[in-house]
Subunit: 228 residues, 2 copies
Amino acid sequence: MKRLLLISNSISYGKGYLDHCEDAIMNFLGEIRSLLFIPYALYDLDNYFSTVEKRFGKMGIKTSPIHNADPLEAIKKAKGFFVGGGNTFRLLKKMNDSELIKPMRDAVLNGIPYIGISAGINLASPTIKTTNDMPIVFPGSLDALNLISFQINPHYIDPDPSSTHKGETREQRIKEFHEENDTPVIGLYEGSWIRAENDSITIEGKKGAKLFRKGEKPILLKNGPIVL
Amino acid sequence: MKRLLLISNSISYGKGYLDHCEDAIMNFLGEIRSLLFIPYALYDLDNYFSTVEKRFGKMGIKTSPIHNADPLEAIKKAKGFFVGGGNTFRLLKKMNDSELIKPMRDAVLNGIPYIGISAGINLASPTIKTTNDMPIVFPGSLDALNLISFQINPHYIDPDPSSTHKGETREQRIKEFHEENDTPVIGLYEGSWIRAENDSITIEGKKGAKLFRKGEKPILLKNGPIVL
């Protein structure tokens, strides 16, 4: 009994915060009307909470921020988790410093639903090794909540054939990951999300995803259930 | 007595490997005709060395690869270092695993010239916290050679005003770095390099650079000496 909603991005081009995924969040939450919010990926925690509180309030969902509570108690009492985007290294460092990885993992394995966006989906992965973020702080380890059996790369974007920039493309970066690791990677386009319920994994949203396996050509994933 | 040539990128659009910076490398090396090559940022070390050996051979420079030697002895005997690009986390992990950070730092502080490109300039910085690379392996620490007093972001690129992608821009990532760190960051455009000789720092090449200081607006740096 494990339920996760893993969303590539919180703002889609031309839309407001969470607008593109509001229906998916409401559908995923069902009867649940309160969430514990984990804002650690951003620097200004109170400001972040203010945005989140208003936006979820409009949806009839009460949010409470972990940084204004005893974090361990808050995790134990939570009816659902919302882990927001920002910098993944900062998020993981605060989770590690406060020893929250195991309690949160246990809670989700016991059926507490988990909504993660961007950095929040890197945190749900086995490791944060497929984040796009700059390593602005040292998190002590790259191991994350390990709630799914694959890695996700949020904000996935295909190479731009007209680009003259010679930095690595996202595809090249994921190939580098597979030079050193075996775990499959789902590159999740902006506008897409993954619903993972027990062993069932479904791609939903606007644009699908791309599956990268070590040593194989990437495969385009359309919306619907997938088998990894 | 400390000499570094720190090059943003090894291939410029439409040119071959090292073509855009060949003159700068020759000028920097002066009478030196042999380099110890550090290929650890890429996966296939022998293949990487083959490319480097040929390219430097055309310039009359003999290169020898650290991975075919006793690395500590090779560092002690080197007349100059060339640290090539690739994945910075992989590069730093191999340097840490082999305990090469201190010996290499000592050699450069004793006057052995250092040429670094891309990941090789992240390695010369105080930390690798301003790399663009994916954290595909855990390097044990983010501390690097600390041969300069500032951070460099290689392959620096300005935000694209026409983009509909909502992932962080490079400027936003460097701003996140300054939420957690104080060190100035030089965003080095592709085609540019920095010559650092003792306390003298000079921007050279095609396009200049951008200086980011904590809490201040970024400043465009033209070619020429700069004071940090």
